[in-house]
């Protein structure tokens, strides 16, 4: 079956005329297969205490936000909630590394990142509350709507980043995808476009080990998801997603890399969702309590708090102060969600097109008549 009595190996470098563009050295593209960590390593001593404290406060708020949203679900105030509990370091860092004029393209689980960008929880959660598809002004907050069809927002991030560069703006777009989402064709097409256009985009893959029930081993055979960068000629980085300092550092560098024109970056953050997929999911069907417990040890909040306490950067009062700020947010959420949202059925027709079509006008009239009859009947 073989032509040669020895297996094929590298050959002398004789190469035909080059119509195929430059071939780049792949070595710089290869991510370190060990995730980058800071907390708990000697490097942690050199970290900026102020930034660490800031991250800590954001994590505490983030955790409280996740808890409160989960509670709202139980109270029937949200239709569904996919908690990012356990992934708060990724959520908070993704927002923190962006400038105000940068854009965030979140996935469906990333409401916390949206809140961390400055969107009010009631607006960030509108989709999941169910009164409207979307809450905030995307242009005002430079934050795209939550994308439910997985990875489909990734090409949007590339297009926006490229458009910004065409306009001469040094704007970066950051988009988040789950480990499961990396299997979608749109993820591939986005990375490839980004590579070819050298667009200033950062792809943050939050690898929490599962796509609903499907573990990573059934999702990908890659050494790490960061290694997918190689096939697009872009940089890949692997980071411990539960180490807030590390995620922040790696993402901040990635954003600067992209902003400075050195091209897109794919960051894989290894993390874990401590809650079920959503409130509708039963996680005991596919993972063990032991596994969850082991990851609880690596809870990003606990990890950072341990560091701060060990380095005497925070005391009980500081912890309490952070918790108090978090309670304020929770109280605001309760108040906002306690009120029934205003619903205008006629709004169904107002934004399908800039101008309603004649067909929509007819249909709106039908609904208006029904509503009037309903009101009369009351």
């Amino acid at each position: 079956m073989t032509l040669l009595d020895q297996p094929a190996g590298p050959s002398a470098s004789v190469w035909p005329p080059d119509a195929h563009g430059p071939r780049r050295d792949p070595a710089p593209l290869l991510p370190d297969p060990e995730p980058f960590r800071l907390l708990g390593t000697p490097a942690a001593d050199k970290l900026d205490p102020e930034l660490l404290l800031d991250l800590y406060r954001r994590l505490v708020v983030g955790r409280r936000y996740n808890q409160q949203a989960t509670t709202l679900t139980k109270q029937g105030r949200l239709a569904v909630y996919p908690a990012s509990t356990g992934q708060e370091a990724c959520q908070v860092a993704a927002a923190a590394v962006l400038r105000e004029d940068d854009w965030l393209f979140p996935s469906y689980r990333d409401t916390l990142a949206v809140v961390a960008r400055g969107v009010r929880p009631v607006e960030a959660l509108t989709l999941l509350r169910g009164n409207a598809h979307h809450g905030w002004d995307p242009k005002a907050h430079r934050t795209a709507p939550l994308s439910t069809p997985l990875a489909t927002q990734a090409p949007h991030a590339v297009g926006l980043a490229h458009a910004a560069r065409l306009r001469g703006d040094d704007v970066v777009a950051l988009t988040t995808v789950g480990d499961g989402g990396t299997s979608e064709g749109d993820f591939h097409e986005a990375l490839n476009f980004a590579g070819v256009l050298n667009a200033p985009v950062v792809f943050l893959v939050q690898n929490n080990g599962y796509a609903i029930s499907v573990p990573l081993s059934k999702q990908s055979a890659a050494p790490t998801l960061a290694h997918k960068a190689v096939g697009y000629g872009i940089s890949g980085r692997l980071v411990d997603g539960n180490d807030a300092a590390a995620v922040y550092t790696v993402l901040a560098e990635a954003v600067e890399h992209a902003r400075s024109g050195r091209g897109p970056v794919l960051v894989e953050a290894v993390t874990y969702r401590l809650e079920a997929h959503t409130n509708a999911d039963d996680a005991t069907r596919y993972r063990t309590p032991d596994e969850v417990e082991a990851w609880q040890e690596r809870d990003p909040l606990a990890v950072l708090e341990r560091h701060l306490r060990a380095h005497d950067l925070i005391d009980d009062a500081g912890v309490a102060a952070a918790a108090e700020a978090a309670e304020e947010l929770a109280a605001e959420m309760r108040a906002e969600f306690h009120a029934e949202p205003e619903l205008d059925p006629m709004s169904l027709f107002t934004h399908v097109y800039a101008e309603p079509t004649p067909q929509l006008r007819e249909q709106a009239a039908l609904l208006a008549a029904e509503l009037a009859a309903e009101a009369d009947a009351r």
């Binding site: 239709a79 569904v80 989709l127 999941l128 509350r129 169910g130 009164n131 409207a132 598809h133 439910t148 069809p149 997985l150 499961g180 989402g181 299997s183 979608e184 064709g185 749109d186 796509a211 609903i212 029930s213 499907v214 059934k218 999702q219 990908s220 069907r285 596919y286 949202p341 619903l343 059925p345 709004s347 169904l348 027709f349 399908v352 079509t357 067909q359 929509l360 249909q363 609904l367 029904e370």
Partner: protein, 332 residues
């Protein structure tokens, strides 16, 4: 054809009937294989594949990577090798990434190879609204499939049909898009599974003399309810459950419309270019001189599916159906 064995007599949900159909088909034919996102360990997000991985192993109830074109595309290759894949696409709107595979390969393979490569693939898609789902979780996409030659498109509205039609779909040597009305998953009925009939026959669910409601899937219970309510208005409505959109049962439908001379088509999907347009058009073509009024349509509006708190205004309800019946020019 075969009869149900695993489906318990007595009170059964449609979800259980579907599950039983899969199990029975897998027991009878080792070539039947279930695949999709979360179908294995989890048993599917709607639990339709519950217990199948345990009984038949992970290879025959395959948890796939999260990529719908890859799922359907690899099912094509499996079918070419003699398997009969039953593919689950998790929600209506998440079937769209597989559209290219469906249209350019699945629907066409038998035709382009002059019958040499039939593709016995069943594509299960939970569809429709009324479950309080957020955007992309409540689409009614049947019109896309029904317009695509080479696909059969069926949708059960009763628990018994959940079993019977799914068995028929798996037994079919052609690709079948099997649309499962999400909001009927927990509907219950006594199932007395009979012989599995081939796909293609509509059924008159309610006899009536005044006008005929033509519907399918999630709108059947609404139409039956409307027919009950119509009695108070003095109307005796017939209700036809299409069950199969392709092939279309002109015979049953036209007979039912001719018998009353008036008809309303009801479905959840957007009206413009929806399956209801086809039904209305073909009924009028075939029954023109039997009609006292045009065939009217009660459908979802021509808008993206609304957020949960507003969906009731979009979905055809009893009142809207009765209003349409009232517009059937009774005075003439």
């Amino acid at each position: 054809m075969s009869t149900a064995t695993a489906t318990p007599a007595g009170s059964t949900t449609m979800a259980q009937a579907l599950n039983g159909a899969l199990r029975d088909a897998m027991r009878e034919d080792p070539n039947v294989l279930v695949m999709g996102e979360d179908v294995g360990t989890l048993g599917g997000v709607f639990r339709i594949t519950d217990g199948l991985a345990a009984e038949f192993g992970a290879d025959r109830c395959l948890d796939t990577p999260l990529a719908e074109a890859g799922i359907l595309g690899s099912a094509v290759g499996m079918a070419m090798y003699g398997l009969r894949p039953v593919v689950e696409l998790q929600f209506d709107a998440f079937a769209y990434p597989a559209f290219e595979q469906l249209l350019s390969h699945v629907a066409k393979m038998r035709n382009r190879t002059a019958g040499r490569l039939p593709l016995p693939i069943t594509i299960r898609i939970p569809y429709g609204g009324g479950i309080g789902g957020v955007e992309h979780h409540s689409d009614s996409s049947e019109a896309y499939y029904a317009h695509t030659p080479g696909l059969h498109v069926v949708t059960p509205a009763t628990v018994a049909d959940g079993y019977g039609l799914l068995r028929a779909a798996i037994a079919s040597d052609d690709p079948v898009v099997f649309l499962e009305p999400k909001r009927l998953y927990w509907s219950k009925d006594d199932v007395t599974p009979g012989p599995v009939e081939p796909i293609g026959r509509a059924v008159v669910r309610r006899q009536g003399t005044s006008a005929t409601l033509l519907t399918y899937g999630p709108s059947l219970p609404v139409c039956l309810e409307a027919a009950e309510a119509a009695r108070a208005e003095g109307w005796d409505l017939a209700v036809v459950d299409l069950r199969s959109l392709t092939p279309f049962d002109d015979e049953t439908v036209c007979a039912a419309v001719r018998a009353t001379g008036r008809a309303v088509v009801v479905h959840e999907a957007t009206g413009f270019g929806g399956v209801g347009a086809e039904i209305a058009a073909r009924v009028m073509e075939r029954c023109f001189h039997h009609l006292a009024a045009p065939v009217l349509r009660v459908t979802g509006f021509d808008i993206p599916y609304p957020p949960p708190m507003l969906e009731r205004h979009h979905l055809p309800g009893v009142d809207r159906i009765l209003d349409a019946v009232a517009r059937l020019q009774w005075e003439q």
